[in-house]
């Protein structure tokens, strides 16, 4: 059956991402610290190149009629801009608190970092609480009170009009957004001189497209039209925790296989290089900080429908207007954590 294939592909894409991220240190959080604060100036460029690659490759798949990106959850017409933005801000700030996003925590866990296990458990539980649990009624009320319907779902939709056809609008939007991101990436000399970082950016971008292809083409079932999806980590981390507890009564999905794959891939890349090292907390205050970070990422990611990767790469690759709002929120939240009165020093766990 095709659904079995899709699950294996989810695992494979997860393993590939885990390997790449373990080797390259792929992480928006450390990238933004390096850009706005102290640290490696290349990593934010790696993320930008990944986003540019994801946009070009995903839009090409959609244009070729291979994957209907319009059937993903990102190009919403009716959504709450405040909820999306606040979700993004909470996620971004939580990411700075916990020293990395959910995907980064999975990669670190594969390398023996037990602090990440705590972050992941808190993230998963608070995300599920926001989606379907204690916080869900508040989320639904908030969204219902502030939802609005936009005239257009995506940037190309907004550009298209009497003079510009929809395909032309698509490629104008791709050229503008992906072009800007690529120029930003390659304008940095240190990044240009780092083949590993360039390769990591390209690889992660292509993995986003591979995820679309797996769920939207190989996994397409005309008798079960499910939303198409790609790499995303908030709901899947929650879903994985649920799967561990309820696997006799819930189906294994692409998303859950992806999560397992990332941990396994990271471990596969860490162990042979002697990089697997158990790390824990030495400081209860840092523990508290990581717990808070995990909770904010879970709640924020659930409100914004995705994380730095789920919205920042996968969502953005659909050029959905809602994703631009979420990404803006994530960047704003991260900025608050790195600069200004609410800034946080890098943690000393």
């Amino acid at each position: 059956m095709s659904s079995g294939t899709v699950i294996w592909l989810g695992l494979a894409i997860g393993v590939a991402f885990g390997v790449v991220a373990q080797l390259s240190g792929f992480c928006l959080q450390s990238g933004l610290r390096g850009w706005w604060g102290e640290g490696d100036p290349r990593k934010v460029r790696t993320f930008a190149l990944a986003a540019a690659t994801a946009i070009v490759a995903s839009q090409a798949l959609d244009a070729a009629g291979l994957v209907p990106l319009g059937r993903s959850i990102y190009p919403l017409a009716t959504f709450s801009i405040p909820v999306m933005l606040i979700g993004g801000v909470l996620f971004g700030y939580g990411m700075i608190l916990a020293n990395g996003c959910g995907a980064r925590a999975l990669v670190l866990l594969g390398g023996g970092n037990i602090r990440s296990l705590l972050v992941l458990l808190v993230l998963g539980i608070s995300a599920q609480a926001t989606l379907t649990g204690l916080l869900a009624p508040a989320r639904v009320d908030l969204a219902a009170a502030s939802s609005a319907t936009l005239a257009d779902r995506t940037l190309p939709d907004a550009l298209a009009g009497a003079t510009i056809g929809s395909e032309a609008a698509r490629w104008i939007a791709v050229a503008a957004i992906a072009g800007l991101l690529a120029v930003f990436a390659f304008a940095n000399r240190a990044f240009r001189a780092s083949p590993l970082q360039i390769a990591a950016g390209l690889a992660v971008g292509l993995l986003i497209a591979a995820g679309w292809y797996a769920t939207g083409n190989i996994g397409a079932d005309e008798f079960d039209p499910q939303p198409v999806a790609s790499m995303t980590f908030i709901a899947p981390i929650a879903g994985s925790i649920q799967y561990v507890m309820l696997s006799t009564g819930v189906a294994l999905t692409f998303a859950v296989a992806l999560i397992g794959g990332v941990i396994a891939g990271s471990a596969l890349a860490a162990v042979p290089r002697g990089r697997f090292r158990l790390e824990g907390f030495t400081n209860p205050r840092a523990m508290l900080r990581y717990i808070l970070g995990g909770a904010l990422m879970g709640i924020g990611g659930a409100l914004a429908l995705g994380c730095s990767i789920g919205q920042g790469l996968t969502g953005l690759s659909t050029l959905a207007l809602a994703s631009f709002v979420a990404v803006g929120g994530i960047l704003l939240g991260s900025l608050l954590g790195i600069r200004g009165p609410l800034r946080l020093a890098p943690p000393t766990p």
């Binding site: 009716t78 989606l131 008798f223 309820l246 006799t248 819930v250």
Partner: protein, 267 residues
């Protein structure tokens, strides 16, 4: 006058609350699930249903009550002498508990169906199977339904493709074997319980029946109620004795009909 609850009172209250259901149960034997649904009770009648040989597959937890995967199978032979005549599905916690009925024949091959249903809330989903021998089998499963994890869903649907059908059947069925037929018909399955933005109740509009005939003899029939999910989906079996034409016919409100013909090859 302010009332205060002491710790001892609180413990007593909690213990009482915990014991109450136990007491009620021992005072009067708790009715079986089908006895609480009139249509199911009428179906069972005076029979003493066994719970053996019927399997209900449902997710333990569903985050989308608007389309919950359900499969029901009765593990009994399907021969001319004795076969499963019908399976009836009920969801007690829905505004109307009748979900669907499936009528089989010996040419069904297997008394098994899979579909997607609507569940209003966490509840018990039950199935009653009636055999040609008069035997009745009943079973129920609990399912937890949470509010939708999805932030937004389109409430509208394309009106152009209503009653469009899709069918998949095996290219070849071995003699004496059963082939799986998968089918879907595009239809909103409007419940009659929903209001539009202006507050007007949208009238009930659903697909009522799917009839499968083989060389003009009915071999399987499904009857749907409003608790069947939009775009009714159904998987069932056929065991044709020879090569021939399988015709599927859907009948919906408003006199709308769709028909699809497939040539089955038995070899």
């Amino acid at each position: 006058m302010p009332t205060t609850i002491t710790r001892r009172d609180a413990i007593g209250l909690l213990a009482g609350a915990a014991a109450a259901p136990l007491l009620a149960r021992s005072a009067a034997a708790q009715p079986a699930w089908w006895q609480t649904i009139p249509a199911a009770a009428a179906l069972v009648g005076d029979a003493q249903p066994s719970g053996q040989g019927i399997a209900i597959e449902l997710p333990l937890v569903s985050e989308d009550g608007s389309a919950v995967d359900l499969a029901v199978a009765v593990d009994r032979p399907m021969t001319q002498d004795a076969f499963v005549e019908s399976i009836h599905v009920f969801a007690r916690g829905n505004p109307s508990p009748e979900v669907a009925e499936y009528y089989f024949s010996p040419l069904s091959g297997r008394a098994a169906v899979a579909t997607r249903i609507r569940l209003n809330q966490s509840q018990t989903v039950g199935a009653v199977a009636v055999l040609s021998t008069g035997e009745v089998i009943a079973a129920a499963r609990d399912v937890t339904v949470t509010i939708s994890g999805c932030l937004a869903r389109d409430d509208t649907y394309a009106a152009t493709d209503i009653m469009q059908t899709r069918v998949r059947a095996p290219e070849r069925i071995a003699p004496g074997g059963a082939g799986e037929v998968t089918t879907l018909v595009n239809h909103p399955m409007e419940t009659g319980l929903r209001t539009d933005a202006a507050g007007t109740v949208l009238p009930e509009d659903i697909v009522r029946r799917l009839i499968a005939t083989f060389d003009r003899a009915t071999i399987f029939e499904a009857r749907f109620h409003r608790s069947v999910a939009a775009n009714p989906y159904l998987r069932f079996f056929v065991a044709p004795p020879r090569s021939g034409a399988l015709v599927l016919r859907w009948e919906a409100d408003g006199g709308r009909v769709a028909e699809e013909r497939l040539d089955l090859v038995v070899s």
